[in-house]
């Protein structure tokens, strides 16, 4: 076979393909934005919270979207939660001086699932990094990001004013309570104990993931690469042979 001619025939279209692929890769894509983590370092004065609790410790309700909604917050419970040292307005920026002046004026907050989604967007202002990233990759995160608000958000698993670290046995996300938290009526009703046997907030592509999970991910990256290297050249060389056939006839 005339090898030089073969290589010359192959070079032009294959280089064209390389250029086209290069063009596709130039697409800037989605570089992850710099996170504004560790705002937590500024401890705030929970003294302020007393003013909020003056009203919100009462067992009062209001009507929004045709629903009766409680405005009650357990101040003692909040004080013991991980966020107890933080002022209310950190998460409730909507409740400014105007709210203090006229507490009955609506704050234009949504209710129900929409409120859970909105409020959870606030969590990641401080809890950026692997927690936010892994949630975005989870099926819950994908569903919520695409408008299916039925999926769990931060507050659905972790709670609201009663958030405790997972090592605390009273925490909604402690190993003892996790299956029960997943298994509420609105979510995975009757979730078995197995639901708690594994880690949440894992990123399979990273080495910090559980080894078995990372290994499975690696296996598939290699399998996809193998498939690419098998199917790609078969098609490309078949086309080259086609272009060659009949040459000189």
């Amino acid at each position: 076979m005339n090898l030089a001619r073969w290589i010359r025939a192959a070079a032009l279209p294959i280089l064209g393909g390389l250029l086209l692929a290069g063009g596709l890769m130039l697409n800037p894509g989605t570089a992850s934005a710099a996170s504004n983590a560790s705002q937590l370092a500024v401890p705030s004065e929970p003294e302020e919270n007393k003013a909020c609790l003056e009203c919100h410790s009462k067992n009062e309700t209001m009507t929004r979207d045709g629903k009766e909604i409680s405005v009650h917050v357990d101040g003692a419970e909040y004080g013991e939660s991980v966020h107890g040292i933080i002022s209310c307005v950190r998460c409730h920026a909507e409740a400014g001086p105007e709210h203090a002046a006229d507490p009955t004026k609506p704050l234009n907050l949504p209710t129900g699932r929409d409120l859970a989604v909105l409020k959870s967007q606030g969590c990641v202002k401080c809890h950026a990094g692997p927690y936010e990233e892994s949630y975005k990759l989870s099926f819950h995160g994908v569903a919520v990001a695409n408008g299916d608000n039925r999926a769990a958000t931060c507050v659905d698993c972790h709670g609201v004013h009663n958030i405790l670290p997972s090592r605390n046995t009273a925490s909604a996300v402690s190993p003892e309570n996790l299956a029960g938290t997943c298994g509420t009526a609105e979510c995975h009703q009757n979730a078995p104990e197995n639901f708690a046997k594994g880690k949440e907030h894992v990123i399979a592509s990273e080495k910090s993931a559980p080894p078995a999970l990372h290994l499975v991910y690696k296996f598939f990256m290699i399998l996809i690469l193998f498939d690419t290297m098998k199917d790609g050249p078969i098609v490309m060389f078949e086309l080259l042979r086609r272009l060659q056939a009949g040459r000189g006839h």
């Binding site: 197995n194 046997k197 690419t228 086309l239």
Partner: protein
């Protein structure tokens, strides 16, 4: 019309075509709805979700999966019935892999690298077609088990721990890419984008394969049918397989650029992920 004057052979009967049709329909539904979830940040996926909604997309995925399971069960039942009533129903072992396939794979590689003049002397199904068929079985088992676990985690959680269910999700989303490469790259090339059959081989809708295409792709089957008197060899006297018209050569050239681009793109995307 006398049968031997025909310039085509009825390659697939109605059963083949209906089963392939249901399989194809379910795969289109699964791939569109599944890739939209996997690549949900892409503009096309965003557009698709704004059109159909995330929840309805999920229903489409599950409905397509149900169709796929149904047609697979039907296929196995159909094979069994055909096998048991072999006298009244045609049954073929042509899809069974054998040592010839290994030989053909080697010969094909030599042909592609210009070390051999002719492609292998394929029979009714080429080694690549048999590999595809086996891939569907493998894919069905893997995607079925993992997909069903993601569909009903509360039930499957009785048998698998959370960590295994997480693994299933990684497997499901990545085995999907494996299937797409096999289907959209390999299968679609052989039956749609191959310049000899572009835009489509008619086998999947009317079951017919031209004698020309048969001589080229299934020469051993062609020869066997000529010897059995089912094809009149005179019909194709002087035919030159493997040739392309000038227009189809241009098509092949454009396709080579596009297919090379996809190849490099996959390589550049997955090489760092595999090596990292």
């Amino acid at each position: 019309m006398k049968k031997h004057k025909q310039n085509y052979v009825q390659r697939w009967n109605l059963q083949h075509r209906l089963q392939h049709g249901a399989l194809a329909l379910s795969m289109v539904g699964l791939i569109v709805s599944g890739l939209a979830i996997k690549y949900h940040t892409a503009a096309w996926a965003k557009g698709w979700f704004s059109l159909i909604g995330f929840h309805k997309n999920l229903i489409l995925h599950k409905a397509s999966a149900t169709l796929l399971v149904a047609v697979s069960i039907y296929h196995v039942a159909w094979l069994l019935v055909s096998w048991m009533k072999e006298r009244s129903h045609p049954f073929s072992w042509a899809m069974m892999p054998n040592l010839d396939d290994v030989k053909h794979a080697g010969q094909h590689m030599a042909y592609l690298l210009n070390l051999r003049k002719e492609p292998p002397h394929y029979g009714r199904y080429t080694y690549l077609e048999k590999f595809e068929y086996l891939s569907i079985i493998w894919g069905m088992v893997v995607m079925g088990l993992t997909g069903f676990s993601l569909w009903l985690p509360e039930t499957m959680g009785n048998f698998f721990t959370r960590e295994i269910l997480d693994m299933f999700r990684i497997i499901h989303g990545n085995e999907a890419v494996v299937a797409c490469i096999a289907l959209l790259y390999g299968h679609f090339f052989s039956v749609h984008f191959n310049p000899a059959v572009f835009p489509s081989s008619p086998v999947w809708y009317n079951g017919k394969i031209s004698l020309e295409h048969m001589m080229e792709e299934h020469p051993a089957e062609y020869q066997r049918m000529v010897e059995a008197g089912q094809i009149d060899a005179a019909t194709m006297a002087g035919a030159q397989p493997h040739g392309l018209s000038p227009a189809r050569k241009v098509l092949a050239f454009v396709e080579l650029i596009i297919y090379s681009a996809i190849f490099y793109w996959l390589l550049i995307s997955y090489l760092p992920k595999a090596l990292a």
